[in-house]
Symmetry: C2
Subunit: 331 residues, 2 copies
Amino acid sequence: MDKSAVLADWISPSNTPVTSTEQFAPSNIALCKYWGKRDKQLNLPMNASLSVSLGHLGTHTRLVPIDYPTDEIWLNSDRLLPSSPFCQRVSAFLDLFRQPGRCSFRVTTRNSIPTAAGLASSASGFAALAKAANESFALDLNTEQLSVLARLGSGSACRSVFKGFVEWQMGQRDDGLDSHGVQLPVTWPGLCVGLIKVDASEKSTDSRSGMQRTVDTAHLYQSWPVQAAHDLEKLKQALASKDFERLGQTAEHNALAMHATMIASWPPLVYWQPESLAMMQRIWKLRKEGLSCYFTMDAGPNLKLLFLQTELDALMRYFPEMEVIQPFGHG
Amino acid sequence: MDKSAVLADWISPSNTPVTSTEQFAPSNIALCKYWGKRDKQLNLPMNASLSVSLGHLGTHTRLVPIDYPTDEIWLNSDRLLPSSPFCQRVSAFLDLFRQPGRCSFRVTTRNSIPTAAGLASSASGFAALAKAANESFALDLNTEQLSVLARLGSGSACRSVFKGFVEWQMGQRDDGLDSHGVQLPVTWPGLCVGLIKVDASEKSTDSRSGMQRTVDTAHLYQSWPVQAAHDLEKLKQALASKDFERLGQTAEHNALAMHATMIASWPPLVYWQPESLAMMQRIWKLRKEGLSCYFTMDAGPNLKLLFLQTELDALMRYFPEMEVIQPFGHG
């Protein structure tokens, strides 16, 4: 199904943007991962997922209408070539809102994610872009609609439209209009996310083609959607009862199971570096010694630690380079 | 079901061993792994497996009847305490052949596996012990019966009763009498197995409890028996057509999928060390550069390389510590 067709009831492609705007969307870390698509065109997932948004870390996107036949796209103060993959994706996304060849923009994208954090920016980037397009074209879409829109840019972007804990409901419809994020009515002051960067010695497969390879070649992937559904329920229970051990265990188990499906792909898809494994071993050792901390990992070599504020000082001694975010403030 | 009951038609527990004997059985490396039991008591597997025996590397076991109430057990020139787990397992195995408290033995076990190789010895050990008991009690069992017996000592020992390529047919019966090794009518001169030892910084979970944890806690394990069945067929086709690429790819994919089921267990079961991962990356890099080599791994940090003799010199430059076995001699 075509993206524009899906959006026909919400958006009439316009000739003229109304206004300039700047919007922000946070990065998000999934505690139950999105891995595998049931529709590649519309980024519809094989499983529901759950994330926590990272407060002030994310993407600021400014849209300014310009009188020029093509978009002018800036990323962190660099002007990008229109032929670059990033520009192509951004312009294609804006095409959902405008008549072909009309309404060009200067798009200024600024990531407030520290480079040391090793976070992907496409989730916050497309969430911010969806919000900005909504403002610029005065569409007055609600957040669930914005979440659907963001998903069409990049799957996990649908979660970055919201703050706090977000469930991406997978939905059932072919057009995906019921596949979007929903903010969960939970806050958890004192919950910490620690970003640990591991240098990747070689460029890894991007997550889009990685998940496709997994779905296509890993027999073990067949059991993934069932595990993800179980993990999502456990996480929601852990959030409801503020049971940190259950939260951490479920998130770590879920991340390792996702990596297991990658490892079981062919050719093998191992995003871990030797140093990633050394970090995992350090975390398991600390846990044995009584420190309560768990990790999660996305399609890359970096680890994200989960812990409560009470363990912050102790953990900083073992991971001095760690960047710590408290999505709900101090406990 | 009880082990002795299963064997009732083959063995009448005896009062008197007939003779002293020394028997040898080779180590084996599985190309399609045994991982998970459908019967813990009888070591009946969830999936069929396929291995190659390692020629002269293995275990020599001597049985000498002694006039003493308990067994006297030696391992590589060390006398072991009767209370050690090794002695308990060996004596319990010999109990299948004798009346309680009668017929003690001096059991002398010598492994010809270089310590640098990092190979488990329970497979060759119980295969050699089964052969020796058969001789000592003059039971005149055939090799398939010996394979069933060896399996009762340690699952993968049923493959070490044979030379060359061996399929462990999983069988259907509750008593497991149809679950044993079968030698495949294939030889492959020039096929090489390279043993690469990685030092484990901490003692890992033994494979018996590791496979149990996987079966009990890894959702992804549900898809393992299906993959193993597919891989077994592919390997047999590769053997029939002497297609080394297909053999290597299937063996590596199978080993990684087995490790994936471990990684998806809880608590996580990661036998890899950072150095294991560095070795894998080196192998993938060499393969990209055109060297044809694949690896397999068991429940530990060590790698076993698979390659043809034509690549031997090139590979020795990258893995100078590697111990190389040619199970079928030169090509």
